[in-house]
């Protein structure tokens, strides 16, 4: 059965969709783009520096059709996912170890708290010095930046596992492995996924920055290069495409989250009431 709005007439239905569902947000985007379009059209803003939305979309179509954007994106997404995957593969197990073992936690806490807030942009020169300006540097930077949220969230998740749950499992005779698999991993999973979601956004940001600073390909390079060669609509097209990619990646994650951890969504929304 389809979900029904409580209104029967068209106007009522539309206002319901706009104000009561999340589709209203898309309307806001359309309104803002319309203002942009009109502002540029009537020269409220400089139409060369801020071109019309239609011109940007035309440019976007052109760079997609010519395959230029796709080439850059394949490079960017490769770097991003390589770095991201490395950070997950290292970050989650490290988080479990640190979160579970009090001694390891005490020994590593200061290091983590020193490294984590260091702006990633500040370590780029060091990494360029050590790894050059190629893919290794970019992947390393992405992995570094997305590692910390995953690590810290995993630690929090593991440390936050309810004592009663652990004791219950021990009382039923759970072995260490069963405790880990049956309780800690499950109970910490919402935190881990949150860390992974934060990090995927960070990894896109950092990939683009790294590409702007060094190298001659990738979407970050494309945007900067378009600006320098005065291909202004193409520059904006690159930014628009990044917004779209960021949105899609985040949506996929949210969907995955609500699918895998329906229990957590239900539990937290119940506690919030």
């Amino acid at each position: 059965m389809m979900a029904k709005s409580p209104h029967q007439n068209i106007l009522g239905k539309m206002s319901y969709i706009i104000f009561r569902t999340r589709w209203g947000g898309s309307l806001t985007v359309i309104v803002l783009l319309t203002f942009w379009q009109l502002g540029s059209m009537f020269k409220v803003v400089h139409p060369v520096y801020i071109p019309k939305v239609t011109v940007i979309i035309q440019a976007l179509y052109n760079v997609i059709a010519s395959g230029e954007l796709l080439t850059h994106y394949s490079i960017t997404l490769f770097r991003m996912f390589a770095g991201y995957c490395i950070s997950v593969v290292i970050g989650v197990p490290c988080g479990f170890l640190i979160g579970y073992n009090r001694v390891v936690f005490n020994l590593t806490e200061s290091v983590i708290e020193l490294c984590r807030p260091t702006p990633v942009s500040a370590i780029i020169p060091i990494v360029i010095l050590l790894l050059g300006v190629g893919d290794e540097m970019k992947i390393f930077i992405v992995a570094w930046a997305s590692f910390w949220p995953i690590l810290v969230n995993t630690i929090d998740g593991v440390r936050g596992v309810d004592r009663t749950l652990m004791e219950t499992a021990r009382m039923f005779g759970a072995t260490s492995w069963e405790l880990f698999k049956g309780i800690i991993l499950q109970a910490a999973s919402p935190h881990i996924v949150t860390g992974m979601r934060v990090s995927i956004a960070i990894s896109l940001i950092v990939t683009v920055i790294a590409e702007m600073l060094a190298g001659n390909n990738g979407i970050g390079f494309f945007v900067l290069d378009a600006e320098r060669t005065f291909r202004i609509p193409e520059m904006y097209a690159g930014v628009f495409s990044l917004a779209a990619i960021g949105y899609v990646v985040n949506r996929i994650f949210v969907l995955l989250e609500s699918f895998i951890m329906a229990w957590h969504k239900g539990l937290t929304s119940k506690e919030a009431k």
Binding site: D162, M171, F172, G173, E178, G182, L267, K270
Partner: protein
């Protein structure tokens, strides 16, 4: 033969700047099929006592023998029902999966070879009257229902000894009376031994064959006696029985006296439970 012997166990908690003497030489014997109530004021170390009997916490001195074996880890055949039942249910598992949780673990699998954990789980879920909620998550149920799920999960492992830590403490009076009678039926049907900890004197007397009264700071046994009220018990008749009232009043007096004594003993001094170390 006794099922369980608690031999003069004591417990002292040591933290960075103080020592707390929680339990002072508690000893008692438990026979099979007995229903024992442990009654004491809040904060008298009842939970600590159960944690030690179930092997989750080692005593500072003394020992616990279950079926001839010394308890130093959670022993098979013993189930502790936590006071925080809603926190002891796994929120990511649906009700039936929660009931099967114990059975899926390696140790219990060894005890129940040849039995399908799902069928076993359903059997006990039906016994607590919640079979039709088997596909709900625990947090979708009311407090009383969650407690019944926890009971079903304990029963599914067919324990010889069940320890219950103020299991009905946070329920409303009606649900509580219902679950008390339900527990008595379960006990008669599945023939366990139960140690039931409560701060509610009437509840303790109503349910049990034997009552152990504790005093606090540090916790020790004040009285250990048999309660020969006739079975089956009935919420109205038993509770208005003259003998029931006598036992209740006597326990009440004991607990009150003990607290008064303690108050006089320590007038103007440090409480006896805390020794600055």
């Amino acid at each position: 033969m006794n099922l369980l012997s608690v031999k003069d166990i004591s417990k002292e908690f040591v933290s960075a700047n103080q020592r707390t003497f929680a339990i002072d030489k508690i000893g008692f014997e438990v026979k099979e099929r007995e229903f024992i109530s442990v009654i004491g004021p809040s904060g008298c170390g009842k939970t600590t006592l159960l944690m030690m009997i179930s092997g989750l916490m080692p005593p500072t001195s003394g020992e616990i023998i279950l079926k001839g074996n010394k308890v130093d880890a959670p022993p098979p055949g013993l189930i502790l029902l936590f006071q925080d039942y809603s926190r002891s249910l796994l929120p990511w598992r649906k009700v039936l999966k929660n009931v099967c949780f114990g059975l899926e673990l390696k140790r219990q699998r060894r005890r129940f070879t040849g039995q399908d954990p799902k069928k076993q789980g359903e059997k006990y879920l039906e016994a607590v009257g919640l079979l039709k909620f088997k596909n709900h998550y625990p947090w979708q149920l009311s407090g009383g229902m969650q407690q019944r799920v926890a009971i079903a999960r304990a029963l599914a492992c067919e324990p010889t000894l069940m320890l219950m830590d103020e299991p009905f403490g946070s329920l409303d009076a009606q649900t509580r009376a219902e679950l008390e009678d339900f527990l008595l039926r379960i006990w008669e049907r599945f023939q366990q031994t139960i140690i039931f900890v409560t701060h509610d004197i009437e509840e303790g007397v109503y349910l049990s064959d034997r009552v152990i009264v504790l005093a606090k700071s540090p916790s020790r046994i004040v009285k250990d006696f048999h309660n020969n009220l006739p079975r089956p018990r009935n919420q109205i008749e038993t509770r208005s029985d003259q003998r029931f009232l006598e036992i209740r009043n006597e326990i009440h007096r004991m607990i009150m006296h003990k607290q008064k004594d303690l108050g006089e003993e320590n007038d103007g001094k440090e409480p006896p439970s805390k020794y600055i170390g």
